[in-house]
């Protein structure tokens, strides 16, 4: 490209000299968005939603890092993230922090996601997979693509969890424009992410889903687990609606993909 000198036409600038047009820090408080009503008059949260952040890698702020599986190179390397934990750090008890570090070191062996186990809550919400909200008056279903995980949010006749489970037992209610979901009855086997953040069976999760625009929900979660944390703590993130035509939850029945990993060593060896 030859070196034509581009004469810079001085742009007569109307703005007074020295006026800085930096945008004000943080977005001004936009008037609260009011979602369209579902048929029963409640906010309509139906739709296919997905988080677009690195929380599933590590809910705390983290730098980018290499993949735990050398051969996957950059394709499975860890992207950096500003973290979704409000205030930055998870208030672990000392012994629980030690366990977290141990989990991290052995994450390739211990992370339940690798074995296609149900992701637990709130991890199911920010897996790198969509989930669909099917909202009726009595039950609100949250149907996740990963491993076919599913949650029934009981909006009526709430009861205690009859037994422990991976996805917990969810009782929901409406608070104005917000769906509040109170979940207990977890086992202690799921993780919050791939970095070894963990909980006990005493975990109590309170989630708040609030529509913030036609295509986004605000998702705020309070985590309580006195056995593992010194105080309750929060994470929050937007969820984005999948708007492509004919979007649907596909099947990701991953048991089949991990059987060799889990049971391969028990395969009959061909007789020599």
């Amino acid at each position: 490209m030859r070196n034509r000198l581009v004469t810079l036409t001085t742009v007569t600038v109307i703005a007074a000299a020295g006026v800085l047009l930096t945008t004000t820090a943080g977005t001004a408080q936009a008037p609260a968005y009011r979602a369209p009503r579902a048929a029963d008059g409640k906010p309509n949260l139906n739709g296919i939603w997905q988080a677009l952040n690195t929380a599933n890698w590590d809910i705390e702020a983290h730098a980018a890092g290499p993949s735990v599986v050398r051969e996957l190179g950059a394709s499975a390397a860890v992207p950096a993230g500003l973290g979704v934990v409000e205030g930055g750090e998870i208030p672990y008890r000392p012994e629980a922090l030690a366990k977290k570090k141990e989990n991290y070191t052995n994450r390739l062996k211990l992370d339940p996601e690798i074995k296609c186990y149900l992701p637990g809550v709130p991890r199911s919400t920010y897996m790198p997979f969509p989930f669909q909200i099917i909202q009726s008056q009595q039950h609100i279903m949250m149907v996740h693509e990963f491993a076919g995980a599913v949650r029934t949010i009981y909006m009526e006749n709430h009861v205690e969890a009859p037994a422990d489970s991976w996805m917990g037992w969810s009782n929901g209610r409406w608070e104005g424009e917000t769906l509040v979901v109170d979940t207990k009855g977890f086992n202690d086997l799921s993780w919050f992410d791939r970095a070894g953040n963990h909980h006990s069976e005493a975990l109590h999760v309170i989630e708040r889903f609030t529509a913030r625009s036609p295509e986004t929900l605000m998702y705020e979660v309070t985590i309580e687990d006195p056995k593992v944390f010194t105080r309750p703590w929060k994470m929050s993130m937007p969820l984005y609606r999948r708007v492509e035509r004919n979007a649907q939850i596909m099947e990701f029945r991953c048991v089949e993909f991990v059987e060799d990993l889990i049971y391969g060593h028990l395969r009959k060896q061909p007789s020599k």
Partner: protein
């Protein structure tokens, strides 16, 4: 409880149950038919999980040492519908298990029969403590 094989009523024809596609694996491949056993112990924990639930039982062996056995039972889901919860069978409950030892020699067995200290069979359908037939 032993009763004779039910007489097959001819005539009306054997209504072969539509062999519901049992999602099961031959337990005889997991447990050894030639190693029946009877265990008496106290319940450490009942893992109400699927596809089969597991009872963790502390059993005193001959020389008094306590060994934890894992006893395989059925899916808890229908019991839950009948009102059973994780608190129904308290920890420490005295249980007698008749069953078969696992083939791989570990302290595992399938629980053919779970009997409480008072001789009552555990959960038996409607008699589940706290349960009650098909809860309406």
């Amino acid at each position: 409880m032993r009763t004779k094989l039910a007489l097959v009523v001819a005539g009306i024809g054997v209504l072969l149950a539509s062999a519901p596609v049992w999602a099961h694996h031959a337990f005889a491949a997991e447990f050894d038919v030639n190693k029946p056993l009877k265990l008496r112990g106290t319940l450490l924990k009942w893992e109400m999980v699927n596809p089969h639930s597991w009872f963790h039982l502390d059993v005193k062996d001959q020389d008094g040492k306590v060994v934890t056995w894992l006893i395989e039972g059925g899916s808890p889901n229908q019991l839950i519908r009948m009102g059973v919860t994780k608190n129904t069978v308290p920890i420490g409950t005295e249980l007698v298990i008749e069953g078969y030892h696992a083939k791989d020699g570990t302290n595992k067995a399938v629980g053919r029969n779970f009997v409480l200290a008072d001789g009552k069979r555990l959960f038996l359908g409607g008699s589940a403590p706290g349960g009650g037939g098909d809860k309406k």
